[in-house]
């Protein structure tokens, strides 16, 4: 327990101390909020879909959590090559504790990032429909955070080269964000795009978060929770497996 705690604490300390990173990782979601949110808002409204900011904000919060979580997971790449990872890997500790400590720490950081972005969204005019569902929204955020930290851990354990980082961002993370229903409604899409979205676990995270904040569910809270939870569990197992295979 103390091992998981101290590794969790390490992630939080690192986060608190890297102001540049906090700032940089908030910039992107807020850019999307203001440029896309206020840019497409009038068109969205004219098409009869209602207030775009109300629609977009859960997607933007999911985005903040997603990027922060993946990034933290991939930090293993840094830690692995020279830094600190060797120190933890030769410690007399089963690796699952190390994975759990790291993952919980990184997911907590991702949650905080999401909450900061959410606060800015509230200031920008977002209305919470039902305050009673806020804990549900937080639960969805946490699941997204865990899922994508585990995803990042998997990538970070498999890839050895920092050069692969832009590839991962452009070919895995960005598409996952764009095809998640974060930016546009799922219900009016064609069959192919709809199928793609349904294969993406983030879709259920965004849907759950949006439903909890604005009552606009597509799949329903139950299916969202089960599918997202299942994907998270699978990736935690996969991430732990590949992490335990790392040779330094």
């Amino acid at each position: 327990m103390s091992i998981i705690y101290i590794l969790w604490l390490r992630q939080l300390k690192r986060y608190r101390r890297s102001r540049a990173r906090i700032f940089a990782s908030l910039a992107q979601p807020l850019l999307f909020l203001f440029a896309i949110g206020f840019g497409f808002g009038p068109t969205y409204q004219k098409a009869g879909n209602g207030n775009y900011i109300q629609f977009l904000v859960p997607g933007i919060v999911a985005m903040a959590v997603l990027f922060s979580a993946v990034f933290s997971g991939i930090e293993i790449l840094w830690d692995r090559q020279f830094g600190f990872l060797k120190e933890t890997l030769v410690a007399p500790v089963p690796r699952i504790y190390i994975v759990l400590g790291r993952t919980l720490g990184a997911a907590t950081v991702a949650m905080i990032q999401g909450l900061v972005v959410f606060t800015v969204c509230l200031l920008a005019g977002f209305h919470i429909q039902n305050y009673g569902l806020l804990p549900v929204a937080a639960a969805f955020m946490f699941l997204i955070a865990m899922l994508f930290t585990a995803f990042g851990t998997t990538i970070g354990s498999l890839v050895e080269d920092m050069q692969a980082f832009p590839l991962i961002m452009n070919f895995l993370v960005m598409p996952m964000f764009f095809f998640s229903g974060a930016l546009f409604p799922v219900k009016d899409l064609g069959a192919i795009l709809n199928g793609v979205l349904r294969l993406n676990p983030l879709t259920y995270g965004v849907d759950g978060l949006r439903g909890a904040l604005t009552h606009e569910f597509v799949f329903g809270i139950g299916p969202d929770f089960v599918l997202l939870g299942l994907a998270t569990a699978i990736l935690l197992v996969v991430g732990n497996y590949f992490f335990s295979k790392i040779e330094v």
Partner: protein
Amino acid sequence: MTQNKVIVAHNLVKTFKDFRAVDDVSFEVEGGKIFGFLGPNGAGKTTTIKMLTTTLAPTQGTILLDGHDPQRAPLAARRSFGIVFQDPSLDGELTAGENMKLHAVLYGVPRSEQAGRIETALKFVGLWDRKDGFAKTFSGGMKRRLEIARALLHTPRILFLDEPTLGLDPQTRNHVWEYIQTLARERQMTVFFTTHYMDEADRVADEIAIIDRGKIVARGSPEDLKKNAGAATLEEAFISLTGHAIRDEEASPRDRTRTMARMWGRT
């Protein structure tokens, strides 16, 4: 007396695809001795250290660290040694004290003893007054000293040092070796190190093994090695044993990342 053999490696083999990186290597190190493991680049030094320190499984052969087999009982084997890696392995975003504390928790040092041991270890390497400084602000020599202090926290019987003085100035190098010799003498700690500086090995090692192309080509005290090779210095003996050819190593992703990290100022 096998009791006093703190490190035992028996017929170690490690193959990567069809390349035999370590080819039937055997040696024993007695408790309290300083053992130098020398060899040109790519000779199999690092692979051997990795197998000894549980991060790589041998293809064949057995290892005993203070009586523990790293494959069968990795956690017990890991508790028996401390290691200073070739590359810095500190968390630069944490302070010296926090790096120490983390190590203490990872190695299960009892809570009531943590503060005292951290203080003793940091004082030993002269970094107690810098305990609240971030590791990333430390010079190369200070990082090395901090890593040595950290490796001592759980009072291991064995200390592995992979090129501990690489990139340090002569003053710092002398300091580092003084600490290490003190440890071997006063705490009966067994030290296993690699280095490319032959004069250092000559000065501090009780025993030396020279490995080349995966095989041990010579073993003995520095005096024996010089005498057998008819050489005046250990460096001459080393070159007469391993030849003049320069060994090329391919740059691995790790080397490239290292270069990048330096560029980004992360190490």
